[in-house]
């Protein structure tokens, strides 16, 4: 059966959820062969095998951490040469998209980014994308080379499917180009203990209506009661109330959770671009004319400082 390369996003051997979702999608097209690079690569094998990887190609080298993007491109290039896959699937993180793009060019293939679904077609995989602030859905195919497709988080359910997951060392020889951009320092982001924004099943976001950095504790309390990630609109981020890494929207993260709760967010097109594909949308806003109410499944017209704490208390009570 045809093999599909799946690029593994992991942190020191801990596989991130979007990669497990990719394995589900990969099985619709062929047999998943995972490629895990860098420190802890071999440690990913067990969980990848539980989710359908027939083989796990690994290569550990400091180059992946010490230089930007290109070492990973060269390793994937080696994996494509070794496996001759029918497609290469990559998670849609900022870095992985760049890796995928350069790989596509090197192997003479087309690339589709930010797919939200994937199915087998007559002439290769068909990718669904959500475009123009999610107002259109397109279906696209790669017409030249081996399709390289990046897939957004929450595009498929994680389905366990036991497979061999045999670990094999990948042979990689870096070129001079691999060492063009040096990472001279790295500061790990402090963990908040909350789920990662793009992967979370529930996202609670605050906007201009939150009116101050100190007031974001109200949003965080609701998020914690629901086990949710915290997001922020661009207005809140530009005002310095919340970090840019939590920004939802066109110039921030695009999220597609099961439940999105927008508090004090008017719903400008730039924000909608980042959250409109959420399954259920809830908004709390003082302004009954706010455009966000056009999108909601349930909306409360009211002061978020009344509604959100009451909701938080109620969630805690119900969860016991």
């Amino acid at each position: 059966m045809a093999e599909v390369l799946v690029y593994v996003d992991h942190v020191d051997g801990a596989v991130r959820k979007p990669t497990l979702e990719l394995l589900t999608l990969a099985r619709r097209i062929g047999e998943p062969v995972a490629v895990a690079l860098g420190s802890g690569a071999a440690g990913t094998a067990a969980v990848l095998a539980e989710h359908g990887a027939t083989r796990v190609l690994t290569h550990e080298a400091a180059d992946y951490a010490d230089y930007l993007v290109v070492p990973k491109v060269e390793a994937l290039e080696a994996a494509v040469a070794a496996v001759s896959p029918v497609a290469v699937l990559v998670p849609s993180s900022a870095e992985a998209k760049e890796v995928a793009a350069r790989l596509a060019l090197r192997i003479g293939s087309g690339i589709i980014t930010d797919a939200v679904d994937l199915e087998a077609g007559d002439s290769g995989p068909v990718a669904t994308q959500s475009v123009f602030a999610a107002s259109f859905t397109t279906k696209s195919v790669v017409v030249k080379g081996t399709p390289v497709i990046t897939v957004k988080p929450n595009s498929a359910a994680v389905e366990p499917a036991a497979a061999a997951g045999a670990v094999e060392a990948l042979d990689v020889a870096f070129s001079e180009k691999a060492h063009g951009t040096k990472v001279t320092a790295r500061t790990a982001r402090e963990s908040t203990g909350r789920p990662e924004l793009t992967e979370a099943a529930i996202v609670v976001s605050g906007g201009r209506g939150v009116n101050g950095a100190e007031n974001f504790s109200v949003i965080e309390a609701l998020a914690d009661s629901l086990g949710a990630a915290v997001g922020a609109s661009r207005a809140a981020v530009d005002a310095g109330w919340y970090p840019h890494s939590n920004q939802v929207g066109q110039t921030g993260k695009s999220v597609s959770p099961q439940l999105y709760i927008a508090s004090g967010i008017s719903g400008a097109i730039q924000h909608r671009a980042g959250m409109q594909t959420s399954k259920t949308i809830v908004a709390i806003n003082k302004d009954p004319e706010a455009p966000i109410f056009d999108l909601v499944d349930y909306g409360v017209v009211g002061d978020l400082f009344d509604v959100v704490p009451q909701l938080t208390e109620e969630v805690k009570t119900r969860k016991g």
Binding site: L68, V69, V70, V73, S93, A94, E95, E98, A100, A101, R102, L105, R106, G110, I111, T113, S130, F132, F136, T137, T138, K139, V143, G180, T181, V183, T184, A185, A188, R189, E196, I202, L226, H244, S245, Q250, T251, L259, A273, T280, I281, V282, I284, D294, L295, V296, D297, Y298, G299, V300, V301, G302, D306, V307, V308, Q310, L311, E313, E314, R318
Partner: protein, 262 residues
Amino acid sequence: MSLRIVVTVKYVPDATGDRHFADDLTVDRDDVDGLLSELDEYAVEQALQISENSDDDVEITVLTVGPEDAKDALRKALSMGADKAIHVEDDDLHGTDAIGTSLVLAKAIEKAGFDLVVSGMASTDGTAGIVPALVAERLGVPQVTLLSEVAVEGGTVSGRRDGDAASEQLEASLPAVVSVTDQSGEARYPSFKGIMAAKKKPVESWDLSDLGIEAEEVGLEGAWTKVESAAERPARTAGTIVKDEGEGGKQLAEYLAGQKFI
């Protein structure tokens, strides 16, 4: 010493307009006003700041690939302070995808001559964010992308990239390709003087033959990907909207419980 900066910019359909597809499944540009992609304004701004902070003689060229109207995007960048502009326009470019666009950009950048390419993090229409990486690959130079801070000194470009898991300091020798995020610093507004000066600045027009590119390498026919269908997302059915009269939070909790979120 001199430093030649090429800033790549894109003329995009206004996101607040009614964007849709034409019959050939390319973006319909006739029905929506265009403008300079907001994220490219940050690239122009950073190029101007690099120039202002440099002891070298810096020349900033803005480059775009697009239809006749795309000149408006170049004018905006010139009025902000860029020195000259290049417009690559050719009927055969209609429907070019990201891989093809990177070919045209790379050829034009090589022809213009460069030490540094500065791009926005993504366009506001396609939003893929892969063109800077593709251009770096084609030019065979380092990429220093998604920077929230950028500096150029002594033939080296450095910057900070704020990723999900970590914040990284990056460094590469010139020539290089840089892309900047919307965190890199607010873009300046063109002054009246800048707008007047822009009218006198040179805008060169190049077509595919100027770049040695064959028509079949680009455009809809030459694209590496094909859009098979585009459907407007059905409008969301009107949701329930309640007014908070003291019980809004509890009512919402009831709804969320009904949907099994609690």
